[in-house]
């Protein structure tokens, strides 16, 4: 007999939109279940800059999105301030950039109501000494950086604390349809392979790039376009501000500070399928060469990781994916003959709250519930479980925690054993299975220059030693984790990075012989 879970709303997809919707619905008093086939932010939510746009980037191509961004960034700064770093942003142009665009910029900003400030070239270089000497124009705007993992974790935590249920590693397999309605969702737990069913009044498809596949299960076709974007993470933070290239939005023109690193991106490459994407050497080289025009240091600095995300876009025809609106797409599938099914896809990290709000409004409408959105007024509470996803800023009281016998397990990002324990606890509380990957989502483990060479073994040993893991899957776990890291590493290996990856290989292949393990 298969288990059946009953709920009001089922949210499919644990990205920033999905978790945002879950929280919004909970605040409106709904009973919510969220399923995710992997773990939080496994898709585009985890594969982006972590940039909150001021909107200035879209003033020419998409003025509407620009206005949205401008209002959302204000709300988020107020409501989720602890996930946001108020870095400020710069738009800079270098010799050779389109002068007409530079000239139009102030006017377009004014029209969209986006605050900006012209900065002299000398002042800009004083603000950010890494900028190229070829600078010809600079404007200051209100960009900010956000920790996308933290915002998802916090959203989900808040939702769970308000009664929502979060089921990770649960993949939707099919819908049971009856009379223009979805009556049940068939779900399988990816870890233990057990199937179960979820019965809901409304089903929300917030699976981002996978929205087309989910809709397919309800016999609905969404013309999805997959645009792969690749980003590079430097080993240390190069600039304090978000630095945008002042030109028509194109490749590798944004450098975002993310805690102690900087993130350079991105590219736009049409791919056929959102799964199994990874950065390639050619992309990496291209990004670096482009970025170096704006910030010469990018040509020589060290990168610790590259990663790719897939932008979920709904096709409107045309070839260049950048012309496809970055605005979100909300589809009530009533028009397609399924009454209780809504798809929300597309959009941007910056507007995730707005997307959740609009989606939930539609849910209320459909279910005839009169509840207003509250994410605009109720701040997102900060919890401890999001704490260790903060990039590398060592946490206070180092001495005390050392005196208490705590050991640092991840040296690069200084994550102590106690943090790992508390992360494991919170995963267990969500009925998840703690493993290296899920710990890595919730902390900075494996994200430093060693890319898991040491911390993987240390954390695994720690879990065994403390009995938090006790089966024979240890070696497989280790291999899986390292291979996941490897995806983002192999295209960046030269200079010091190749030294460190060689040492990693020395340990895990040379000494442990893990490649021989089946």
């Amino acid at each position: 007999m298969e288990k059946i879970i009953e709920t009001q709303v089922l949210v499919i997809g644990g990205g920033v939109t999905g978790t945002g919707i879950a929280r919004d619905l909970c605040l409106r008093g709904f009973d919510v279940v969220l399923i995710e086939k992997k773990d939080l932010n496994a898709g585009a939510s985890g594969g982006n800059h972590g940039l909150l746009h001021s909107g200035a980037r879209y003033i020419a191509s998409d003025p509407e999105a620009a206005v949205e961004c401008n209002s959302e960034i204000r709300i988020l700064k107020k409501m989720a301030g602890h996930c946001i770093q108020r870095t400020g942003g710069l738009f800079v142009a270098v010799r050779g950039d389109d002068e007409n665009y530079i000239a139009d910029f102030p006017g377009l900003c004014d029209r969209a109501g986006i605050p900006f400030e012209a900065v002299s070239v000398r002042d800009a270089i004083k603000l950010e000494p890494v900028l190229s000497a070829n600078l010809i124009a600079a404007y200051q705007v209100n960009d900010a950086s956000i920790n996308p993992f933290k915002i998802s974790i916090e959203n989900m935590n808040d939702a769970v604390s308000r009664g929502a249920r979060y089921l990770s590693f649960c993949k939707l397999e099919s819908f049971d349809m009856e009379k223009k309605k979805i009556v049940r969702a068939n779900v399988r737990n990816q870890v233990n392979g057990k199937a179960f069913q979820i019965q809901a009044q409304t089903y929300i498809n917030a699976s981002g790039a996978w929205a087309g596949y989910i809709a397919q299960m309800a016999d609905i076709s969404i013309p999805m376009v997959f645009s792969k974007g690749t980003l590079l993470v430097t080993s240390r933070r190069l600039a304090r501000h978000v630095i945008n290239r002042l030109r028509k939005a194109t490749d590798a023109d944004i450098l975002v500070p993310g805690g102690v690193v900087s993130i350079l991106g991105t590219t736009s490459l049409r791919v056929d399928h959102p799964d199994n994407i990874h950065p390639t050497v050619d992309e990496v080289d291209y990004i670096i060469d482009q970025g170096a025009q704006m910030i010469p240091m990018l040509a020589t600095c060290r990168y610790v990781r590259a990663y790719s995300g897939v932008r979920p876009l709904v096709s409107a025809g045309g070839d260049d994916d950048r012309n496809v609106s970055r605005g979100y797409t909300l589809m009530d599938h009533e028009r397609d003959g399924v009454d209780n099914f809504i798809t929300i896809t597309g959009g941007k990290l910056t507007t995730f709250r707005l997307m959740a709000e609009k989606t939930c409004d539609r849910v209320c409408e459909k279910l005839g519930v009169d509840a207003a959105c509250q994410t605009e007024v109720i701040p997102l509470p900060a919890t401890r479980s999001g704490e260790w996803s903060e990039p590398g800023i060592p946490h206070g009281g180092f001495k005390e925690f050392k005196a208490s016998g705590d050991a640092i397990l991840c040296e690069c990002e200084m994550v102590p054993a106690s943090a790992i324990d508390s992360i494991i606890n919170s995963i267990c509380k969500d009925k998840g299975t703690p493993d290296l990957s899920s710990i890595a989502v919730r902390s900075r483990v494996g994200k430093g220059p060693c890319q898991g060479a040491f911390c993987s073994v240390r954390i695994l040993s720690h879990m065994y030693q403390t009995g938090q893991m006790s089966d024979t899957s240890g070696i497989q776990e280790l291999k899986k984790f390292l291979n996941e890291r490897w995806k983002g590493e192999h295209a960046l290996l030269w200079d010091q990075a190749i030294v460190q990856s060689s040492i990693k290989e020395m340990i895990h292949c040379g000494v442990f012989g893990l490649e021989l393990e089946k």
Binding site: G405, L460, I475, L493, V499, E505, M506, G513
Partner: protein, 429 residues
């Protein structure tokens, strides 16, 4: 080694690199009566396991673990004529490994092998690694491979990156009879380091206390596995004492760096070569300046105490990327001392496989320096670059040692042979 400002020293042989290859080369040169200078940093030993592999896996594509390295050697030579082993006969290989074991013994560290067969050593990841020359403190562990022994695994509370439970679970997968015990170390609290742990093993009181803690877990156990931290300077004695105290056979399990067995190896090599009057420039980088009158001239860094070194021959044992013998740039891989052309996959996209644990290994790991049959680096026309420049160790091309499990073997053998060749050539003159 006190040297005056801008001094010039001359020597028969300059060994660049203080890894296994460099150490063996220096020791061999000293044993042949050559006036030898050794440069480079020996701290890379901390990153090694302390095991001296010879050839553990071949062919790599099929992950064939070799019972005896000689089983795979012929096939390797046939399929890969550029591999360093293809340039040496079996007798010389054994001779050089024997030589290595002897110099380590003279440095106070015993290594042994199991009669021309590989020894499978349990690692702290719970895997078995085929190796050849094995430190005395680990050799007993090879007996558990049969699966008949009743094993007790111990770990120390607070020792990071090592868990008896993890290894035990991996062994259980192989249907072995294994139990675990965790030893408390009151002297060490919090985040302590391996060296401290290892130093404790030289203290008899600590050994007694440890044995006492294990006592109740001994029961029917036959063999005790410990992390490889049992003493720095006198590991064999510490081990013996512990065996007497517990009544169990003991063996060490190598694991994450910093590695104590590696440190012992470093100490043993250094003791031997310093005893044999090799002049050591520790942690000093040399820059090649010129070939002149059959001598090869170098300068060390550190103005104005810069030292000129004039050598009649050079062994280039500067290692790969971690040893800074090779430097990878975005487009190209370079050799750092002479800028010898490096054999490597042309495009960077071909350097690495998508799977980190790909059995055939990453093509970039076969990159390196091509040599003639005497281990002299060759240029594009396959002519030796210089009469008396030799290359040895991991810098040699076509040797993916992490997959082949051939790291130390290639280092010992190529260094040994390169010095022999140099010596022979010098005598003829």
């Amino acid at each position: 080694m006190n040297l005056k400002n801008n001094a010039t020293i001359s020597c028969d042989l300059l060994v660049i690199g203080s890894g296994i290859a460099g150490m063996v080369a220096a020791a061999r040169a000293a044993s042949l009566g050559l006036d030898t200078v050794l440069t480079g940093s020996s701290s890379g030993f901390f990153l090694t396991s302390g095991l001296l592999d010879f050839l553990g896996v071949y062919p790599v594509e099929s992950s064939q673990v070799l019972e005896s390295p000689f089983n795979g050697l012929d096939q390797l030579r046939k399929q890969n004529p550029d591999h360093p082993y293809s340039k040496i006969d079996n007798k010389t290989i054994l001779e050089s490994l024997d030589f290595t074991a002897r110099i380590l013994s003279s440095g106070g560290l015993e290594y042994s092998s199991a009669k021309n067969t590989n020894v499978n050593i349990l690692t702290s990841a719970g895997t078995f690694k085929p190796s050849f020359l094995v430190p005395q403190t680990m050799i007993k562990g090879s007996s558990i491979g049969s699966g008949k022994k009743k094993i007790l695994l111990a770990d120390f509370k607070g020792l990071k990156g090592y868990s008896a439970a993890l290894i035990a679970q991996a062994l259980k997968r192989r249907h072995m009879d294994v139990t675990t015990v965790t030893i408390q170390v009151p002297q060490l609290t919090g985040d302590f380091n391996v060296m401290r742990m290892a130093a404790l093993f030289e203290d008899d009181a600590f050994l007694h206390r440890t044995a006492k803690q294990i006592e109740s877990s001994v029961q029917d156990r036959e063999i005790l596995g410990l992390p490889a931290v049992c003493g720095i300077h006198n590991s064999q004695d510490s081990m013996k004492k512990l065996e007497n105290l517990t009544g169990l056979d003991c063996f060490e399990i190598p694991g994450l760096p910093p590695s104590i067995p590696g440190l012992r190896l470093k100490n043993a090599f250094e003791t031997h070569i310093l005893k044999n009057k090799v002049r050591v420039f520790n942690n000093v980088k040399v820059a090649f300046t010129a070939f002149e009158n059959e001598q090869i001239l170098f300068t060390t860094d550190g103005e104005p105490f810069r030292t000129q070194i004039a050598a009649k021959g050079v062994i280039l044992a500067s290692g790969r990327f971690p040893g800074r013998g090779l430097a990878a740039h975005r487009e190209v891989i370079r050799e750092t001392v002479f800028d010898i052309p490096v054999y490597h996959p042309q495009q960077r996209s071909l350097w690495y496989q998508l799977d980190f644990f790909s059995p055939q290994g990453h093509p970039v790991n076969r990159a390196g320096i091509l040599t003639d049959s005497d281990f002299r680096p060759v240029d594009k026309t396959c002519q030796p670059l210089c009469e008396n420049v030799y290359a040895a160790g991991s810098i040699l091309a076509h040797n993916d040692w992490t997959r082949l499990k051939s790291g130390a073997g290639v280092s010992c053998v190529s260094a040994f042979c390169a010095v022999n060749h140099f010596h022979a050539r010098k005598k003829i003159k």
